[in-house]
Amino acid sequence: MLSFILRRLGQSVLVMAAVSLISFSLFNFVGDPVNNMVGQEATREDRVFIRQELGLDDPIPVQYFRFLGNALQGDFGLSYRIKRPVNELIKERLPATLELVLVSAVIALVFGIAAGVYTGIRRNGWFSKFILSGSLVGVSLPTFIIGIGLIYLFAVTLRWLPSSGRAGVVELGWWKTSFLSVDGWRSIILPAITLSLFQLTMILRLVRSEMLEVMQTDYIKFARARGLSERAINFVHALKNTLVPVITIIGLNIGGLIAFSVITETVFQWPGTGLMFIQAVDFADVPIMAAYLCFVALVFVIVNLVVDLLYVLIDPRIRIAGR
């Protein structure tokens, strides 16, 4: 078990090293950083001075290890555009994104699993068929169209919810949360639903097909023959077995939620890291782009590590094999 975790950690370190190399290379390939920083009227001497200050004259491996050393301490340098440390900027923006992802992940999980189990058990009910055809909308429409549609319906026409932005924020130390005020909840609900819809559909369909498969197995038949109640069969015996593959997908998806929050945040003008990233791309603000890349990769790596451990926790057969 310990060797399994160590091996996984080793793999994660490799992935992060590769990603850091890619983000570092952004500095050298996305335009000349000095040109981006100084204005038109800067003199040649100014440029040379800044170049030396930033250590851009050093050999590339030296620059890379300096970047790596700083990155490990959470220092990604100054944003070219805002002239503030990147890690501060991310720290400010991160709560907004994490809260959005958390709410949408909960929505996707709760409704996805519930609807998946329901449609798996009541295979031929009219409500199952309704859910299934409705869920097609979730997969086939792009996120921004759903977002714009929701804004039009709930913000413009019905005027129930705000159309964009993050109102009603309460400060808890450096963490700004939307969860402690009605306005906060009102403004998070539309972007969260928009972000969750695709994942919800995936989970629903996966749980349903797994459920259908598990219901055919001998141990379900044997559970029936022992006279166990339908509820025990569906929710203890069947559901636990469907969760093994579902967890893998969910793990990948939570990473995806964070990465894809870019679009949702743009549509709803949600002040999170995704929106920051898009603005950074507009202005070729390389430090922010590099930091965001490393950050997203780190999230993926951590989530996958957790998923692997959960997998072992749920399925005892993997525990013994030790892989």
């Binding site: 060797s3 197995t217 001998d218 141990y219 038949k221 044997f222 559970a223 029936r224 023959a225 022992r226 006279g227 166990l228 109640s229 025990a232 203890v236 015996h237 636990k240 077995n241 093994v244 749920i314 399925d315 005892p316 057969r317 013994i320 094999a321 030790g322």
Partner: protein, 577 residues
């Protein structure tokens, strides 16, 4: 003796698109307490359907359309789902065929037991725990308290079946329906489980219905037997009477088809009643004259190798292979399984050599090593005098390998479902370029299909259109296509019904006689080995215990383990003749 279960004129229908199929017709059965009733028949006879109908677990679209099922004087038909749930587990327990799949793999067996006990009795958690331990002990599981925390995969097959039996007994039922309870188990484990079931039946005064295709099981455990054929019960009575003096034609041919362990017959008895089309394996075939027929001609590749007729067909020396169970960086931490341990034997040309042993004894691994599907750790394999472990591109090695073909156990997964039979059988011919053109290839395939009793028209169909026995015939045709001189048959009939088994074994025997084939025949089934083989090797834990001629082995086994295996063989004394 009180009447426990009475089934009168039961009809079960499956409504399908192509009309109604009567899975059971006018079936009447009685079971009394303390009695084991055997329900025997071949696949599709409807015997499992009856078991499922009793506890109302028929798979859709099956339904009971007539007759009555009275259990302890109470009519079960027409009860609603809730009432049935109280009967299942509490009063009627069920045991299924495959212990590998009938336990939930993600729940500890303690959880599964306690859950079932709590459902049937009004007692607390700790008392349920205690009664779970008692149950496990009563089915012969030692250290029951510690075992409650184990997951199903931590038990062996036989132990798992004991757990399944404990679960079926959890609600103190009065009737147990066991659907092929030992089919997936080894013969020694089978004997223990049958003893256990019989012991429980007598000590708890249970009624037991054993559903099986295996006459040997019936002979060992049942008091009375009902023989089913195509949804009908053709004969019911005491075991000794039915097996010793069968009245119905079907029963007679079924019993005749069972391989005999006590004497060797030239052929298996013809079982024409069973599929109604006559014994295809002899009647429908033209005889092959090996001297003129193309199957006797050597191919170009075979001619390149100088093969002496004196060399052994297969000779293996000190063959060893270990599988890695658990990898580790340090060698001493690795866990290895010695699957094959210094195995040596030689098979003469034209001989039928048997390899017998229980599951995990390494007999299939030996076959795979010879066929080149695994590489041995050490030892040598020679096919007709040619060492075949060297460079696989060497034309001599290729030619030697061409002489050897394999037939696998499972006729369902060993044929590619996306290919037509024509392409399946033609593949070796095309691969080895053994025909001049496509027309010639087709001609050869038709010829082969004729010889295995399928007829050329089978060529254009897909494997799923055929039954298990027919598929095994396709496998045999495919194996013969490259004109081999040696066939390795890895449990070729263990997935088949006894009547079909007899046909396939007859076919193999005929082909062996006609083509002078050498057979390496692998089986766990001693009676089949006795009928098929000239010499036998008994394997256990990867090593060979004893090699003897078949007659010697069955009459006076030398090794302790061989004696043990022979003792465990289901006794068929009751069968006359």
């Amino acid at each position: 003796m009180s009447m426990l279960l009475e089934i009168d004129n039961l009809d079960v229908d499956f409504l399908t698109r192509r009309g109604t199929i009567n899975a059971a017709k006018d079936v009447s059965l009685q079971v009394t307490a303390g009695e084991v009733l055997g329900l025997v028949g071949e696949s599709g006879a409807g015997k499992s359907t009856i078991g499922n109908a009793i506890i109302d677990l028929l798979e859709s679209p099956g339904e009971v359309s007539g007759g009555s099922i009275r259990f302890q004087g109470e009519e079960l038909r027409g009860k609603n789902e809730d009432e049935m749930r109280r009967i299942r587990g509490d009063r009627i327990g069920m045991i299924f065929q495959d212990p590998q799949t009938s336990l939930n793999p993600l729940l500890r067996i303690g959880e599964q037991l306690v859950e079932t006990i709590l459902k049937t009795k009004r007692i607390g958690q700790s008392e349920a725990q205690k009664s779970a331990i008692e149950l496990l002990e009563s089915v012969g599981i030692t250290e029951a308290r510690a075992r409650l925390k184990s997951y199903p995969h931590q038990f062996s097959g036989g132990m798992r079946q004991r757990v399944v039996i404990a679960l079926a007994l959890a609600g103190d039922p009065d009737l147990i329906i066991a659907d092929e309870p030992t089919t997936a188990l080894d013969v020694s484990v089978q004997a223990q489980i049958l003893d256990l079931i019989r012991g429980l039946c007598k000590s708890r005064n249970l009624g037991v219905i054993i559903v099986t295709h295996d006459i040997g099981v019936i002979a060992n455990i049942a008091d009375r037997v009902a023989v089913m054929f195509r949804g009908n019960i053709v004969e019911t009575g005491e075991v000794a009477q039915i097996l010793g003096n069968p009245q119905h034609e079907y029963t007679k041919s079924l019993i005749a088809a069972v391989p005999r362990a006590d004497k060797r017959l030239h052929r298996f008895a013809s079982v024409d009643y069973i599929d109604g089309t006559g014994d295809q394996s002899s009647a429908g075939l033209q005889r092959i004259d090996i001297n003129t027929h193309w199957l006797g001609k050597k191919s170009q590749l075979q001619l390149t190798a100088a093969q002496s007729s004196e060399a052994s067909a297969i000779e293996v020396k000190d063959l060893s292979l270990a599988f890695k169970l658990q990898g580790a960086i340090l060698k001493r931490n690795r866990r290895m399984l010695q699957a094959v341990d210094k195995v040596s034997f030689a098979i003469a040309q034209g001989e039928a050599f048997g390899l017998v042993g229980e599951s995990g004894s390494g007999k299939s691994t030996v076959a795979r090593l010879i066929a080149g599907l695994h590489k041995p750790d050490s030892g040598s394999v020679e096919i007709i005098g040619q060492n075949v472990l060297g460079n696989q591109k060497d034309p001599l090695v290729k030619a030697a390998r061409l002489n050897l073909q394999m037939i696998f156990q499972d006729p369902y997964s060993s044929l590619n479902g996306r290919l037509r039979v024509l392409d399946i059988v033609a593949e070796p011919i095309r691969f080895y370029k053994q025909s001049d053109n496509e027309k010639h290839t087709r001609q050869l395939v038709h010829d082969l299909l004729d010889h295995v009793g399928l007829g050329g028209s089978a060529a254009l169909r897909y494997p799923h259109e055929f039954s298990g026995g027919q598929r095994q015939r396709i496998s045999i045709a495919r194996a013969l296509a490259s004109r081999p001189r040696i066939l390795i048959c890895d449990e070729p009939t263990s997935a088949l019904d006894v009547s079909i088994q007899a046909q396939i074994l007859n076919l193999l025997k005929d082909l062996q006689d006609e083509l002078g084939l050498t057979l390496l025949f692998i089986s766990h089934d001693l009676p089949v080995i006795r009928q098929m083989c000239d010499r036998v090797a008994v394997m256990r834990n990867g090593a060979i215990c004893e090699i003897a001629t078949t007659e010697d082995l069955f009459n006076s086994p030398q090794h302790e383990y061989s004696q043990h295996l022979l003792e465990l063989m289901p006794r068929m004394d009751v069968i006359g003749g």
